[in-house]
Symmetry: C2
Subunit: 209 residues, 2 copies
Amino acid sequence: MLSQIAASEDLVFFRPHQFLTREHDRPEALYDILEGWACRHRLLPDGRRQITALYLPGDLCDPMWSLTPTCHEPVIALTNVRATRKSLVDPLTIDRQKGFSSRLAESVERQSNWLVSLGRKTAVERLAHLLLELFERMRRAGLAYGQQCALPLTQTDIADATGLTAVHVNRTLQSMRSKGVLELHSKWLRIPDLGALRDLAALGPHDAL
Amino acid sequence: MLSQIAASEDLVFFRPHQFLTREHDRPEALYDILEGWACRHRLLPDGRRQITALYLPGDLCDPMWSLTPTCHEPVIALTNVRATRKSLVDPLTIDRQKGFSSRLAESVERQSNWLVSLGRKTAVERLAHLLLELFERMRRAGLAYGQQCALPLTQTDIADATGLTAVHVNRTLQSMRSKGVLELHSKWLRIPDLGALRDLAALGPHDAL
DNA sequence: CCAGTGAGTTAGCCTATGTTAGCGTCGGGC
DNA sequence: GCCCGACGCTAACATAGGCTAACTCACTGG
């Protein structure tokens, strides 16, 4: 039930629902994801759940831990995850990490984007925004093939990331699919018309993904 | 990427709606607010608006600019603001600033709290949460008097911070007022029963404010 | 083989919240 | 004194999205 033994000093594996980081841990290491997806989330006392960040292959989870004395939100695997563990013992090693500060900046900006999405966007806009973001991140990670990529989230995961219910995510995805702006079957996403999806996402002219 | 706050400090003033920082500026200075309130926000193409951070006296706006190459969201004054301008000059020593990293950490954590609030909480919970947070911050800044403090936001501002409409904020505040959990008239907040308000805010057992 | 589980799907009903519109008050500028 | 624009407030109506509950498929394990 706890994490499996590392195959080598740095390499670690996790199964779905396993914790990479527990709440209130003092952050001692960051995980660089090689394969699989993970998320950071929060549970309200009555069980409502909000996913506050998604981690894809190539992501560090979470760069924000380098800023805070304690992890206020747990990180869990959504799929099988293979990662390398980067010790935080010496903060300077992290600062020297190649690309660390740009990853941190991206992470902070994405959090703002999500805030706007959750606060002011409709279901269609939130889904379009999320799926575009994820596709773009997969593309940058070299994991997109043309207009397609893997998307190993359940509809419940998507609901918890977008602040909707799973039922409504289903309804909304159906309707988007029937309009031909996206396809999403069996953990596989295809975006026939990127421009159309962007229009649906209510992005500002300067919003990057 | 990290920048130092230079020794030189200028006193500056802003009027309501004036920009402290414009979108897409390269951040050259942070403002330490001495008096008045400000916010960071974002506008969607059709005019919907989301406030992504609030700045009270004693706050630095925005510590996050030290992480990003460009300000992706404008900061504007909500009231008259008096602040000192801290120039960002030397890229290596910002973390020497007294209290800077803890301010940054708080700012990052608050952003997560808001994300959960916008994604999963009801109107009552969001308002309770926001007002508690603001009261607590005012208290820490030495600006609360017993169970009261100034709260110079319009109901429209509150709506844009909580992802609700001004009309619904009004309705909900009325109902909370009639239940005796808070009073909010003429820019002045009173919280007769802090515990009751906390219960309404759907906070986790470990959520600080 | 069967039972159990997780995921996607659909339907019907329900309510929290949005929308629109209008009213009254206040304070500032002229 | 008189506008005029913010702002708070209310009411009537509209709807996006929540809630509950089934049913279907895999898939898994015994």
